[in-house]
């Protein structure tokens, strides 16, 4: 699965989250570029990234910073974070 994330760094939250199948990588890349071009034209500084994983659960675990606040990240550690 492919995940497109538009992330507002200073606010620490996701602005856009889209899911694509593995066969839609080119489309996901095109959309990523379009979002980035639009953000650049309007001078909005968001991070736009494509991630790939077997499941949404997996990407939430390997890239926690996009999905969780600092305290949630700490809590996930004390809860005995199980590896994939």
């Amino acid at each position: 699965m492919i995940f497109l994330i538009e992330y507002d760094r200073p606010r620490g939250h996701i602005v856009q989250f889209k899911v694509f199948s593995d066969s839609e990588r080119a489309a996901a890349q095109d959309i990523r570029l379009e979002i980035e071009l639009n953000l650049n034209r309007s001078r909005v500084d968001h991070e736009v990234v494509l991630l790939e994983a077997m499941s949404e659960e997996a990407v939430r675990r390997t890239h926690r910073r996009y999905f969780e606040n600092p305290r949630q990240i700490v809590e996930s550690t004390s809860g005995g974070d199980a590896p994939p």
């Binding site: 760094r9 910073r65 969780e68 600092p70 996930s76 550690t77």
Partner: protein, 254 residues
């Protein structure tokens, strides 16, 4: 159309200067997409030959590339992690096994071990595979190394982008390094437990039955002590992680 090194480096210069034109972003997109085949080969090999499920990032984000160009004064063509993926494992023993397996699958890979020499507290092993002249970085982190890295990144996002590279206030820096050292201590203890567990298993298999009553209680006692110390260190690590958040919040407020 393949981009020349000169085109890529000129693009890097423009990225470093800022004020990007649409054509720059399109060119960067083209450059990043050129890593697609190498990236797929690496991820496929990890999935099919090692039976692991990495999370991939086929192309580094524009903001991360720009930050790296500023931070490291390198040319765009020298950035090794345009494409990469990440594997999270339970502990150091598994990390060693996975890194060894990656080296076997990608014999030409370079290995950057940031455990012995952490980068501003960041600990992990990066295996940089070379596929047809292109680099694909595989990050191998334990759960604890990963938690530290994600927390450091998140605090950088929210409070100060410099935090994860040794910036921020003195207090933030100290607590980040202190948390990283605790991660190292917990993982070293886990290694001891693993060794003791192996010792007990070996004793069961190899020793004559009359040895067991003498040696087993001592091993079990040491195992229990090591586990207790890990619990203590993990509790302390949770406290220090929370201290990291508090210091970052305080640093922003001041």
């Amino acid at each position: 159309m393949t981009l020349s090194r000169m085109q890529i480096d000129r693009l890097g210069d423009r990225l470093r200067r800022g004020s990007l034109a649409d054509s720059d972003l399109r060119l960067l997109d083209q450059y990043r997409r050129s890593f697609g085949e190498a990236y797929e080969k690496v991820v496929d090999a990890i999935r099919n030959q090692l039976q692991l499920d990495p999370s991939g990032r086929p192309a580094k984000s524009t903001s991360s590339i720009i930050e790296k160009l500023h931070r490291e004064s390198i040319r765009l063509v020298q950035v090794q992690d345009i494409a990469g993926c990440r594997i999270i494992v339970a502990d150091r023993a598994e990390q060693e096994r996975v890194v060894a397996a990656l080296r076997a699958v990608f014999p030409a890979a370079s290995v950057v071990d940031r455990r012995a020499n952490p980068s501003y507290g960041y600990r992990a092993v990066h295996v940089v595979a070379q596929i047809s002249g292109q680099s694909v970085e595989v990050q191998v982190r334990t759960s604890l190394q990963h938690a530290w890295a994600e927390l450091s990144e998140k605090l950088s996002d929210l409070f100060d982008p410099a935090i994860k590279y040794g910036g921020g206030t003195d207090e933030v820096r100290e607590v980040l390094v202190s948390a990283s050292e605790l991660v190292e201590q917990v993982e070293a203890r886990e290694g001891q437990i693993s060794d003791l567990g192996a010792g007990i298993a070996e004793l069961h298999q190899l020793s004559a039955p009359e040895d067991l009553p003498q040696r087993l209680p001592d091993l079990l006692r040491r195992l229990a002590e090591a586990r207790a110390r890990i619990s203590e260190r993990k509790a302390k690590l949770g406290e220090v992680f929370n201290q990291m958040i508090a210091e970052a919040e305080r640093g922003e407020a001041s």
